[in-house]
Amino acid sequence: MNARVASGAVALAVLIGLPAVLSSYQLSLLTKMLIFGIFAMSLDLLLGYAGLPSLGHAAYFGVAAYTVGLLALRVANNFWIDFPAGLLMAAAVSALFGLFALRTRGSYFLMITLALGQVLWGIAFGWRSLTGGDDGLPSVPRPRLPLPWALTEGVPFYYFVLICFALATGLLALVVSSPFGQALIGIRESERRMEVLGYDVWRYKYVAFVLAGLFAGLAGNLFVYFNGFVSPSYLNIVFSASALLMVILGGAGTLVGPAIGAAVIVGLENLISAYMERWVLVLGVIYVLVTLFAPSGLVGLVRQRLGRSRA
C-alpha cells in the first residue's frame, strides 16, 4: 500500500514537472491522455471491478460534453453552472440506462448498453436544430475562473485537467478499496455467493453503474473544454469500444492500468496518423492482438514478469 502511495506521488511529481520540458503540442497531447485516462478508469470501475462489460460508455462522456457545450454556447459560459450540469446529466442518463441494462448480463448486457448508447448517438445525429447534427458543436469556449491564469492557455489548462485527474484517481482508488468496492469484486467473482452472504447485488451494480457514468461525465466535461468541439462520434460505439480497449490494454481491475492504456492508444493514434491514413486498420489489428496476446493487459504482463523473476 505504501509502495503504491509512493509510486503515485512520483507519478504525480513527474506529471507536475512535465510542462517544463514539453512543447505546447506535446503538452496538449498529454492533456488529452489524462482526460481519456479518466474516461478509461471510469469504465474500469464497471468492467474491472463489477465485471460489467459496457459497450455504451461513450454515452455518458458524450452527454456531459454536449451539455456543457450547449450551455456554454447557448446559455452562459458559467463554469459553476455548466460543469455541474454536465456531471448531473451524465449521472442522470446512467441512472436511467442502468435500470434497463442491469436487468441483463453477459452478451445481453453488451448488446443493450450498445443499443442504448446508440439511441443518444441517434438523437445527437438527427436533432440538427439542437445539436448541429453531424457537424457537431464548434467553438465551445473554455471557462473563465477567478484565477490569475487563463485556462485558454495550454499550461494552466493542463494543470486544471491534472488536478481533476488526480482527484478522480484518488476518489476512484478510495471507492475500490472501500467495503463497497470490495463487494463489487466479490460480485464480479460470484454474484450468487454474494447474494447468499447478504449483499443486495443489484444495488451495488446500480451504484457502480451511476458512479462510472458520473466519472465518464467528468472526462466529457474536460474534453469539450479541451477540444472546443464535440460531435456525435464521441457518443458512438467506436468510442465506447475504444474505452473497452484502453481498459483491457492497460489491465482491467487495476485502476491505473486503464489510464496507461488510454495514454498508449492516444499516443499511438497520434504517431500513426502522422505517417499514414490507415489508423483505423491499425486500431482494428490492435484489438485483435490485445485480445490474443495481452488479455490481462500491460499491468498484467509486468506483474507476470515480476512474479517470474521473483520465483
Binding site: L174, P179, F180, Q182, E189, V196, L197, G198
Partner: protein, 248 residues
C-alpha cells in the same frame, strides 16, 4: 416456534414438477438431514428456501416470518446461510479476502463508499479469528483456487459461518472428497454451535446419520418419509429406493 417452516411448497418449470407439496418443520437447534436419490429435488428445495428461485405454490417461514417473496439477501440478514453443491467460491481472491467479504456482508459498513476497508479493523479481526478457529490461518494469504478441494470446502463452510447464521443449509458438503477430507469436514460440522439449526443434504447415508437428529426422505419431489434416524433406518420403502437407485 419453528426455526424454518416449509409449507406445501411446489415448484414447476417447463412441464416438469421438481417439488410437489413439500412440508417440513425444523425446530431451533435441530439438525435435519434431507436424503434422496439424484433428481429428488433436494437442491431445488434449498434454492427455494434461500430465494434463488421462486416457488409455484406454498409458503416459507423463518422464525414465524413469511419470507416466500423476500429476496435472497434479505433472508441472509434474517440469519439464513447456505453452502453450494458446486463450489461457487471467489476463485481469484485470497482466502482472507473471501472471508472478509462474508464478514462484511452482514455488517452495517457493507455499503460504505468513502473509506478504505482497511480502516475497519473489526472486520479483519473477525475474519482472522474465524480462520484461526477453523484451522485455516496459514491459508489466509493463498488464492482460493490454489487450495485443495477439501480445503475449499472448509473455506466454504467458514464463509457460511461468518454471519453467525441461525439456520444453515449444507448442500452435500462432502461430495467429491477423499475419506480423509470427508472426516475433517464432518469433524468441522460436528463442532458447529448447537444453537445453529442445520439442514443437511447428504448422499452418504453414514455421514448423514452421524451428524443429525432427524431425517426427511425426498423422492420424486415429494417427502416420502420423515422421522428419527432409527425410524428411517428401518423404513422398508426407503431401503428399497436406496438399494434400487443409489448410485453414489
Amino acid at each position: 416456534m419453528t426455526a424454518l417452516e416449509i409449507d406445501a411448497l411446489s415448484h414447476h418449470f417447463g412441464g416438469l414438477t421438481a417439488l410437489s407439496n413439500v412440508s417440513l418443520a425444523v425446530a431451533p437447534g435441530e439438525r435435519l438431514a434431507i436424503i434422496g436419490p439424484n433428481g429428488a429435488g433436494k437442491t431445488t428445495l434449498f434454492d427455494l428456501v434461500t430465494g434463488i428461485i421462486r416457488p409455484s405454490a406454498g409458503r416459507i417461514r423463518l422464525f414465524g416470518q413469511d419470507v416466500t417473496r423476500l429476496p435472497t439477501h434479505r433472508r441472509a440478514r434474517l440469519g439464513l446461510a447456505r453452502t453450494f453443491q458446486i463450489t461457487t467460491l471467489f476463485p481469484r481472491l485470497t482466502v482472507l479476502d473471501s472471508v472478509l467479504l462474508a464478514v462484511q456482508g452482514l455488517d452495517p459498513v457493507r455499503f460504505t463508499v468513502h473509506r478504505s476497508r482497511e480502516r475497519y479493523g473489526h472486520l479483519r479481526e473477525r475474519a482472522e479469528s474465524l480462520l484461526a478457529d477453523w484451522g485455516l490461518a496459514d491459508r489466509a494469504r493463498q488464492v482460493t483456487r490454489q487450495l485443495s478441494y477439501g480445503e475449499q470446502r472448509q473455506v466454504e463452510l467458514v464463509l457460511a459461518l461468518a454471519g453467525v447464521p441461525k439456520v444453515l443449509l449444507l448442500d452435500e458438503p462432502t461430495a467429491g472428497l477423499s475419506p480423509a477430507e470427508t472426516a475433517s469436514v464432518v469433524e468441522m460440522i460436528r463442532r458447529f454451535s448447537r444453537d445453529t439449526t442445520i439442514l443437511l443434504i447428504e448422499h452418504d447415508m453414514d455421514v448423514a446419520l452421524d451428524l443429525v437428529d432427524r431425517v426427511a426422505v425426498l423422492f420424486q419431489g415429494r417427502v416420502l418419509a420423515e422421522g428419527s434416524k432409527d425410524q428411517i433406518r428401518s423404513d422398508r420403502e426407503v431401503a428399497a429406493i436406496y438399494l434400487g437407485t443409489d448410485d453414489a
